[in-house]
Symmetry: C2
Subunit: 158 residues, 2 copies
Amino acid sequence: MDLEARAHSEHPEALRLWLRLLTCAQLIEKQVRGGLREQFDTTLPRFDLMAQLERAEGGMKMNELSRRMMVTGGNVTGITDQLVAEGLVERLEVAGDRRAFLVRLTPKGRKQFQDMAQQHEGWIVGAFAGLSTKDLATLHRLLGKVKEHVSSDFLETT
Amino acid sequence: MDLEARAHSEHPEALRLWLRLLTCAQLIEKQVRGGLREQFDTTLPRFDLMAQLERAEGGMKMNELSRRMMVTGGNVTGITDQLVAEGLVERLEVAGDRRAFLVRLTPKGRKQFQDMAQQHEGWIVGAFAGLSTKDLATLHRLLGKVKEHVSSDFLETT
């Protein structure tokens, strides 16, 4: 089905643009999810969680990890438990706080993440391969305007 | 959190563009879901289902409706039951096929959908209000290139 065929209104250009934006995001996300599943037998929330940890060499507290994972909405505790069981992630006690702990990638987890990240980058580069360097920069700039406007609008109205 | 802060790689421009695209789609979708909930006490899958029916004056078969709803992934049968119970949608028998039936908006459902669609359009127009008419056209054109490339790439590899 083509989402864009839906648009009919007083402002069809805005609706068509929205549906095209949504379609692009969904198509790329579908490719990424499919690739992670087929090549690494893993999911986007698992990949995202590992991506967060990869950037925190000393580890990350669970509440910080949960906050950063809000976007993909995975079950952070459940995914962490799985990754710990698979030896990809480890829990560390926090000195001076007996109730808190840090989570970080094991060397095995870091290695596996790097393999996935390299493939992931290839999928994303491929998704935009129909655009010239100039097109990429223009698209980035225009989406920046959208993001800025929606963010400020959203903050005002919520 | 800012998704784009995540990008670091050999091709940071492609990853940054992807995360910006995803961020824009998520921000707008969040506004739409919030608006539907607050102003109409309804959900995006319900809105989408009614939008499909609004375009089929004679009604639509359930399997066609399910196919078209794949994007937002709602439970078509459950949502239809709800909307029937609320008098917004009705089921019709199909002449010559005792097992099939059509679903269509009632006049009350059509009226309610039109109110929602008008608001929805306002939110979408608002989301892109930071862009000039020329920017809108450029963004639509560039996303068209992305869509075309990803679609053909996706068909080749799946």
